[in-house]
């Protein structure tokens, strides 16, 4: 388990750097669902020449950027209930069709935040176990999308690892995460453990191991 003195000693990648690493891994012409919050900025980092089609689970395929103040339409919102736009070639559908896109395995990638990710690829991101339980579409997304990417800080604000041997919080899905993008590393979930495929240039593998609860390897 990590040494809490290490908390924030080495500055990790900022969220735009993490977002651009994710964006670089989304192939041209893929259908992508970006979770509410930090994952939304991934769309700002897509390389020129690539076209990505964004799905919002409330029945919008071909979602565009946030509208200008004078173009806001409260009937045109995203899954976070924020005003958005629709791009040429976009379409609307009802909720069952929209989730058929997810459950039927038609969404190529989804990018979600995490509270915990286990070494087996279990994800906990919907409940702290306190307050009113509310799940939204997270469980459908992790069960149905072809690839589940997690975008997260490597450790919590309290300095605890988020990449863990076993999740302690209620699961969103078991064995569903394919890759984690944190402020310290890009990690694939493999049978052998957390496989590091990219690491922050300012840290060593020992440092990474120290802030991860589970075996990391290069």
């Amino acid at each position: 388990m990590m040494n809490s003195d290490l908390k924030n000693v080495v500055k990790g990648w900022d969220r735009n750097t993490i977002a651009s690493k994710i964006a670089d891994d989304l192939p041209h012409a893929s259908y992508v669902n970006l979770g509410i919050g930090m994952p939304e900025i991934v769309s700002q980092h897509i390389k020129e020449g690539r076209e990505i089609i964004y799905h919002s689970e409330n029945g919008l395929l071909g979602m565009g950027p946030t509208p200008n103040e004078n173009e806001i339409d409260l009937d045109l919102i995203n899954a976070g209930k924020k005003p958005v736009t629709i791009l040429p070639g976009g379409s609307f559908c009802h909720h069952a069709d929209s989730f058929s896109m997810i459950r039927g395995g038609h969404i190529d990638y989804c990018v979600l935040g995490a509270m915990e990710v286990s070494i087996k690829g279990d994800l906990a991101n919907w409940s702290t176990g306190k307050g009113i339980p509310a799940v939204g579409g997270a469980m459908d997304l992790v069960a149905g999308a072809k690839n589940v990417f997690v975008m997260t800080q490597h450790i919590t604000k309290e300095g605890k690892p988020k990449l863990v041997q076993n999740c302690t919080l209620p699961l969103t899905g078991a064995g569903v995460v394919s890759r984690v993008y944190s402020d310290y590393a890009v990690i694939d979930i493999t049978k052998e453990g957390f496989k590091v495929i990219d690491m922050n240039e300012n840290i060593s593998i020992d440092y990474l191991q120290n802030i991860t609860d589970g075996k990391v390897y290069l």
Partner: protein, 237 residues
Amino acid sequence: MLINKIKAEISEMLSEIFDGATIMVGGFGEAGSPIELLHGLIDNGAKDLTIIANNAGNGRVGLGALIGQKQVRKVICSFARSAKGITFPELYNNNEIELEVVPQGTLAERIRAAGSGIPAFYTATAVGTPLAKGKEEKVFNNKKYILEEALYADFAFVKADVADRYGNLTFNKTARNFNPIMCMAAKQSLIQVKKIIEPDKTNPEHVITPGIFVHKIIKIDNPIIETNAIEEGMIYP
């Protein structure tokens, strides 16, 4: 006599509502939420209702207002938390309202299934999570699934954009959401629309919900906009 599902008064729309009814309420947040019908339900006074919706209301308008009147016994929804939610959290924290949390896609599919004569189906959603507790598990092609049952309702409260007297409906953008499938799943679907057109002006290629799924329609041409109503401090009734 011509078929005509259009009603003049909200009281006619709600004439068959009863205590203990299960009511589906369309909308995703405020988009597509049938606020005037919900206010009509407050005026009607039916109690012990079970509400099936994606959310549990904002402020003291629409669904938030109905819950605040303590007319609702149970809410079945995917996301009962909201920055502007007041009434549901109050009652929930006092154990005065029941909550069944359902993943959003499972909620949509359970509703669709009910409308399509499918009593239950297997899904991978929620496998291995607390929401799979007590549900039958089965393996197909080496993958685990759980059994989910169809969600039926006595009534659906729906907001659409345009209707004709046969009940052919079109919706506006993402205000479509749960509305079409709820029309299919309820014994009686009650629709508020902004605009009514003559059937010869309905383009059959553009109909989203065919009239067979629609029972009563009322024109509300200038519906309350929830965001504005909450900002202005509206409290219903």
